[in-house]
Structure formats: C-alpha cells, structure tokens
C-alpha cells in the first residue's frame, strides 16, 4: 500500500475511538497515530490514488516530496500530542484531535480541489470542537466566531473552485494562474494562513482552546495553509510583502500581550510570516526554506504551547500579570520551554536556526533587502518576547506564592520528545534537509551567519535588560481586527435588523391606518360625505366651529338603496365574468 490515504486511517480511528471504553481511549489514540506513522513510511514519492467521481477524477493521495515533508511532521506532532494529552479522558477532545489531524493530512495529500475542499472543512469543524471542549461561555463564543470566519473562508474556497472548474475544466490542484478564480482561492488560503487583516480568528480562538487542544491547533491549520500556498501560489510577489509585514505585525502585537497563550498565538502569525514571505520569493531555496521552517515551527511551537499549557494546567493561570516565581516549583517545565524558546529565536544549534536562516537567506539571495530587514526585525521581537519576557515574568520575576498542582507524566514525556527533536535538528540539520521538496544546497553554520545571529540576539537582549522595568504584562487586553466583528455586533444588529425593518414597519402601520379610516368611512358613506363638506365649510368660514350635531343621516335609512347598488354592481361583474369565461 504505497498510496494509502492517511486521512482515512485517522478518521476511522476517530470513529473507532468513540466505541471504546474511556480507559482505553488514550492508548487507542497513540495506536492510531503509530500505525499511521508506519503507513507514512511506506508511502513512496510519485504514488497516487485516484478514483472516478461523476465525470471528474478525484485524487485522494498524491505523494510527492512536498506533501511528504508536511505529512511527516503532521503525523509526528499528532503522535507526540497524543503522548502529551494521555491524561485526557474527554471523548470530544480526542475524537476531534484525530479528525483534525486526519483533515490536515487529507489536505496535504489531496491531488484535486474537491478533495482538498472536503478535508478543509473537516479541519474547520474538528478544530472548532477543540475550542468548544474548554466548555466555558467565553470559549463557546470564541468557537462560534472561529467557525463563522472559517465558514466564510470555506465558501470563498468553494466559489473559487467552481469558478476555476468552469474556466479551465480541470479539478487538479496545481499552481494557479492569475485568474479571478485563483484570487478567490488565494483569499480563502490567506484566511487560514492568518495573513493580516484576516488573522484575528487565530489570536482570538487559540488562547481559549483546551490545554491540549491548543497544541494541535498550533500545528495544523496555518501550516496546511502554508502548504497549499507553496503548492498553488509560489512566487507571488504579493505574498512576499504580506509575509514580511505579518512577521513584524505578529511581533508588535505580541509585545502588548498579557496572556501567555495569546502571546504565543501572535508569534504563530509572525512565524508563518517568514514562511509566506519565502513562498512569495518562490525560488527552490525559498520553498525549501518555507517547508523547513514550517517543519521546525510545528515542533518548537507545539513545545511552547505545551509549556504554557502545563503552566495553565498546574496553576489555572495564564496571565503574565498573575504569574511569577514558578522557577522553584516548575523548573523542568522551564527548561523544556526554554529549548522551544531558543529554537523559535533561532539560536545556533536549535531547530529554528537551521530553518529560519534558510528562509531569510533565500530573500537575501533574491536581493530583497527590505524583506530581509523586516524578517530580522521580527526575529528580534521573537527573541525578546518568548525567550526573555515570557520566561522572565512567568518563572522568575515577583514570586506570587503560587502552588502548582503536579503534572501528568505524559505531559513531561511529550515535551521531552519535542525538545529532543528540536535539538537533534539543530545539531544535525541533515535530518530536516533530507525531507525537503528540493535538493538542499545550503550550509547554515557559516561564520558570517553565526556572528550576525550572535550580534542580533546579544544586543536585543541587552535592550531588554535595560528596559525590563516597563515591559511587564499589564492586565489589559489589546484590540485587533476582531473588534470589527465583536464590538460592532450590536451596531450590525441595529443596522441590518432594526434599521432595515423600520421602513417595512412604517409602511405596515400606515396601511393599517388607511384601512381603518376607509373602513370607518364606508360604514356610512353619506355621513362621511356630510362630515367632509362640513369640515370644508368650517375651513373657509373662519367662524367658530359648529357644535357637534347629531348626524342628520341615519345609516339605516340608506341601507336598502346601498345594498341595491352593490347588488347591481356585483351582477354586472358576474355577468362579465361569465361572459368572458364562456366566450
């Protein structure tokens, strides 16, 4: 079985999981991912599995070096995520995590747009469940907003696919030309890649997910988007600039953050910026850089979310302004977190260095100096926020006497596995470079790169030390683009519901008044006429209004003659009706 669609393994596993007793579910989760890992190793580049559907050909598995690179890291992270969440006994979380991973693998191995769309939607629903599984009113609302944004993205994707099919007659998922259809698809991809201003769903929803759910969330949605962008839109200049800007954008917002998981969420946006910028450059080196960075990013960002999740699990707190002094009580978590922090900051001998420097070097080689400087600027902010500020105010800083509860062993093992993977890739980059889509001709450990990185990190670190007094977390929140659909929801209700229905209500009321008036007057038409004449006379006579006199018209007096008239008119009408019918 060299072209088995891994997604089906995960989806079947998710269904099976529901039928198992509670105690067996964590083990079954690991079994599903382990078997998938074995199946993945059996996949051969070049294999594909196609089947006919109506008049189209659906390619359920297209195995090539690009899809394999993402496939490896997705299966690895679902396996390690299973270890980390071994203590979880919640069927909703376990099932949706498996479905989510299955959806991501389905997208990565999809060879046609229809298959891609189906798994895209599976991912959206399953990931929303990981947010709802927190079971707080706040998480419920965030999950609903998350779903609405992704439903919009899904509809745009469907519209784009149908238009594309109409224009080209092909469902194959390859590089897109610049047709209008491809721009619809690009916007849908950009929503999932969290390119500003389409990014707010990420920083809104991820910090509200469950402890283990956030680990899976940090891995799949944005990285499948990176994959589809690399497949469909490599070399698009727009993406290069969007990526460079979003790298800085995420960092700037992260500096203002107080919630540690929201801070990490903004750094997902920033790191995906590096990948999107590399995709926009589009050379072989750049695509390798984007893929390598996505690979390494999943490993260290999941580790960071695990560390932050461990703090939340043990203390129930996730705000910098409420944390502090955990260094004595949770030293092991600090150590593992710091390995992730050094990786994301691009310290030499950690995974981020060998992947990020490749993406930046690709921009340098393509003579895109402003992009290089923006990405380096983002690197400074990353180092400062994650490797200095977050640990400083969580594990050091003022001791708030927090008594953390003990962590399950699985959490430590999961974090340990990822820490080992990050160091292994950092020390021996060939591990990573061997699974890249193109042959890698790049040496990360040159003296020039090492010394430049050292200068950058040391001197931004000095900057932090000088300003550390004013950089602590404050118990505030930061508004972002989600303001437009959160704060304005009441305004939107007023405009679209209240204002829009007001004309109809007015017309309604007016017509009722007219009807009531007509009804009253036709009850006694001669009286109405007399009243009308009387009021006209009053209008012109400027004298005082005549006292209200009893009506001289007795309706009963006229009733007979009126009914005769009505009878005659009805008879005429009936005659014409009959006449026209029989004629």
């Amino acid at each position: 079985m060299s072209s088995f669609p891994l997604a089906f393994g995960y989806i079947m596993g998710a269904v099976l999981l529901l039928a198992l007793p509670r105690r067996l579910r964590p083990a079954a989760f690991l079994a599903v991912t382990a078997v998938s890992f074995y199946l993945l190793l059996q996949l051969e580049a070049g294999a594909s599995l196609a089947l006919g559907f109506l008049e189209y050909e659906l390619v359920l598995a297209r195995v090539d070096s690009l899809s394999l690179a993402f496939g490896y890291v997705f299966v690895i992270i679902s396996l390690v995520g299973g270890v980390y969440s071994f203590h979880v006994k919640d069927a909703l979380q376990q099932t949706s995590a498996l479905l989510y991973a299955g959806g991501a693998l389905g997208v990565v191995f999809a060879g046609d747009l229809f298959t891609l769309f189906v798994f895209w939607e599976v991912m959206a629903i399953a990931s929303m469940c990981l947010i709802l599984a927190r079971r707080t009113p706040d998480a419920n609302r965030a999950g609903l907003r998350y779903l609405l944004v992704h439903a919009l993205g899904g509809s745009l994707l469907m519209a784009g696919i149908l238009l594309h099919l109409h224009q080209t007659g092909s469902m194959a998922f390859d590089s897109f030309d610049g047709s209008p259809a491809s721009y619809l698809i690009l916007v849908a991809f950009a929503i999932n890649a969290a390119i500003p201003p389409l990014h707010a769903w990420l920083s809104d929803a991820y910090p509200r997910a469950t402890v283990t759910g956030a680990v899976f969330l940090s891995a799949f949605t944005t990285k499948t988007a990176v994959y589809v962008l690399a497949r469909g839109f490599a070399g698009l200049d727009l993406l290069m600039w969007a990526g460079a800007i979003m790298a800085v954008y995420g960092v700037v917002f992260a500096i203002l953050e107080n919630d540690i998981r929201r801070l990490l969420a903004y750094h997902i946006i920033s790191q995906v910026g590096f990948m999107v910028a590399a995709i926009g450059i589009g050379t072989e080196l750049a695509i390798n850089g984007a893929t390598a960075h996505a690979f390494a990013h999943i490993l260290y960002k999941a580790l960071l979310f695990m560390g932050a999740g461990a703090v939340l699990y043990a203390t129930g707190r996730s705000k910098l302004s409420e944390l502090g002094g955990l260094g004595r009580t949770m030293p092991l978590v600090l150590m593992l977190f710091m390995i992730g922090a050094f990786s994301i900051s691009g310290f030499p001998l950690f995974s981020g260095f060998v992947s990020k420097s490749m993406a930046v070097y690709a921009a340098e080689r393509s003579l895109m100096e402003p992009v290089v400087l923006l990405l380096q600027l983002a690197s400074i902010g990353t180092f400062f926020s994650i490797a200095l500020k977050l640990p400083y105010y969580t594990w050091f800083g003022p001791d708030r006497g927090i008594k953390p509860s003990p962590l399950p062993a699985g959490m430590y093992i999961g974090m340990g596995l990822l820490a080992a993977a990050n160091v292994a890739i950092g020390v021996y980059p060939a591990l990573l470079y061997n699974v890249m889509p193109f042959p890698v001709d790049y040496a990360p450990f040159t003296f020039a790169k090492l010394i430049a990185t050292t200068q950058l990190l040391v001197f931004s670190g000095i900057g932090f030390w000088l300003l550390r007094g004013i950089l602590g977390g404050k118990d505030t929140i930061t508004l972002d683009v989600d303001w437009f659909y959160r704060r304005t929801s009441r305004l939107a209700y007023t405009v679209f519901s209240v204002w829009l229905s007001r004309p109809f209500e007015e017309v309604d009321r007016l017509s009722l008044r007219v009807a009531r008036f007509v009804a009253r007057q036709s009850a006694n038409p001669p009286h109405a006429m007399a009243e009308a004449v009387r009021s006209i006379g009053y209008f012109f006579s400027s004298g005082k209004r005549p006292a209200s006199i009893a009506s001289p018209f007795n309706p009963d007096h006229y009733r007979l003659s009126l009914s005769v008239m009505v009878m005659v008119m009805l008879a005429i009408f009936a005659f014409f009706l009959g006449f026209s019918y029989f004629n």
Binding site: E369, I451, A452, Q455, V458, T476, L479, R486
Partner: protein, 73 residues
C-alpha cells in the same frame, strides 16, 4: 556598577565587530556587510519595536472586560 556594565557591553561589541571584520570581511553587498551592523540593528530594532507597540498600545489597549461591557454577542 553601571559603569562596569557599560564597559562590558562595549567590550563585547568590540570583540564581536573585530571578529566579524577579521574573519568575514566587508563584502560589496548590502549595508549588513558593515561589521557590527547586526549589533546596532539588534538594539535599535528592539527599541523601534517597543516604541511602535507602546504607541499602538495607547490606542488599542483596553480593560479586560471591554468586550463583556460592550456587546460581544
């Protein structure tokens, strides 16, 4: 004490720049070929980021119950 720290930082900068100048050399490329560019960029870039985000913060920072009080749903 502050003076010692300042001296240490300047010494570190000197060592890193000298190492770069000797071992990497000044190429004919972009501005980052100047020895010590990234040290300067590191500290200036850091300050720029802090200034931007603090300035932005004045405008978009709110109390934590902002959305609860102002109609989330």
């Amino acid at each position: 004490m502050k003076f010692v720290w300042a001296a240490l930082i300047i010494a570190l900068l000197g060592i890193l720049v000298a190492l770069e100048a000797v071992l990497v050399g000044t190429g004919d490329g972009f501005v980052w070929q100047v020895p010590g560019f990234f040290a300067l960029f590191g500290i200036v870039g850091f300050l720029v980021l802090v200034v931007i985000s603090k300035g932005l913060g004045r405008w978009i920072r709110r109390y934590e119950d902002y959305y609860d009080r102002n109609g989330d749903e």
